[in-house]
Symmetry: C2
Subunit: 220 residues, 2 copies
């Protein structure tokens, strides 16, 4: 078995032994970049390995030297995204409040989406889900991000910034779901708003809802 993703956790980060290895790794990054874009545009089922190869500028067969199946390629794509999210979570300014940090993360993911780099994978594809759960790096990264987010939500509740009348998973999924929300595309497609405005809108409804706040009469 020669198809081991150079991004897999087996190889310690930064360990590059030769020039050819380095080139191989760079090509893999290019594949994942293109995959992210195509997954965002077409979705998993409609992205073909043919067009992916064409987009990268390599032969289709070469893809299978990097990833042993389309599913595992998608898993690698998602894993890289999760790692980036994790990395962002870890480097956020500690003085920021939990709510601000959650907001910043949501803004970042929506910006990635606006840039066409957000690989949205269908939850209805059993083969894909199985591949995801069977890919070591993916489950690890998912667990790490999930845990970090849950902590952030709990801190937000304790700090009185987030509602305490809902279970933590509900809040967690609510902010997560907003990053895949189809209204983002609809609002952008309408052409009425800038990307920044759309992101503002979505963050606003996510945290403050659609209803008019009951802040009595004064101020606003």
């Amino acid at each position: 078995m020669t198809t081991a993703s150079s991004l897999s956790p087996e190889r310690p980060a930064g360990t590059v032994r030769s020039f050819r290895d380095r080139q191989f790794q760079l090509r893999e990054e290019a594949i994942l970049d293109a995959a992210n874009q195509l997954l965002a545009q077409r979705g998993f089922e409609l992205m073909s390995m043919d067009e992916l190869a064409a987009a990268v500028g390599i032969a289709k067969g070469s893809l299978y030297k990097h990833f042993e199946s389309k599913e595992q390629l998608a898993a690698a794509s998602m894993t890289r995204l999760l790692r980036r999210i994790e990395s962002r979570l870890l480097t956020q300014p500690a003085q920021d409040s939990p709510r601000r940090r959650l907001e910043a993360l949501l803004r970042w993911t929506l910006a990635e989406r606006a840039a066409g780099r957000m690989p949205l994978l269908p939850s209805t594809n059993p083969a894909l889900q199985q591949a995801l759960m069977g890919t070591r790096g993916y489950t690890e990264a998912l667990g790490a991000v999930g845990e970090a987010l849950a902590q952030l939500v709990e801190q937000g509740i304790e700090a009185g910034e987030l509602r305490s009348d809902l279970p933590v998973p509900v809040l967690l999924f609510t902010v997560y779901a907003r990053s895949c929300d189809p209204s983002f595309d609809f609002l952008r497609a309408s052409g009425e708003f800038s990307d920044e405005q759309v992101i503002d809108f979505m963050v606003a409804t996510c945290f403050d809802g659609m209803a008019r706040p009951r802040t009595g009469t004064p101020a606003q």
Copy 2:
């Protein structure tokens, strides 16, 4: 061309000329019922005409006497849903406030989803989108529902129930998106909550958001 959906708007509702016609129409209902279920479970790309035919208990070829393509079948499925939504909107108690009516609609769509009857169609499939937009009944129903919802939102804003600091389309899409929200499936899959609870949670976050309302000290 003999494949004209008996649910198409060309035939006035209630016009049934013969027993065979009636049987044909009933079978078409059965096809759409099964299609809704499979579209909800598997999604458009993964639903095969083979398994749909098997689920209905008819031959695959017979499907094409009712619908000329998989895309148009999906369009008919969505159209029927939109018509039901429209019908519900029209029969809602007039004394209910706009917010309550929007809430009731969201609850209903989520209940449909819980029952596995919600056909979720991907927005990333160009062939499908083209078929949708080229299907007369679909565009009509979509327009009618969109307009009715926009009116409801506007009334909600005027009544002071919904936020006035966001454009109407933003609120409209926000409530719409909630009915396709993947967190619904995740929360149900966790097994921690009943379907009713999950629906309550999603309605709550949709209208009131994740943040703790600032009603602490009186008058801000």
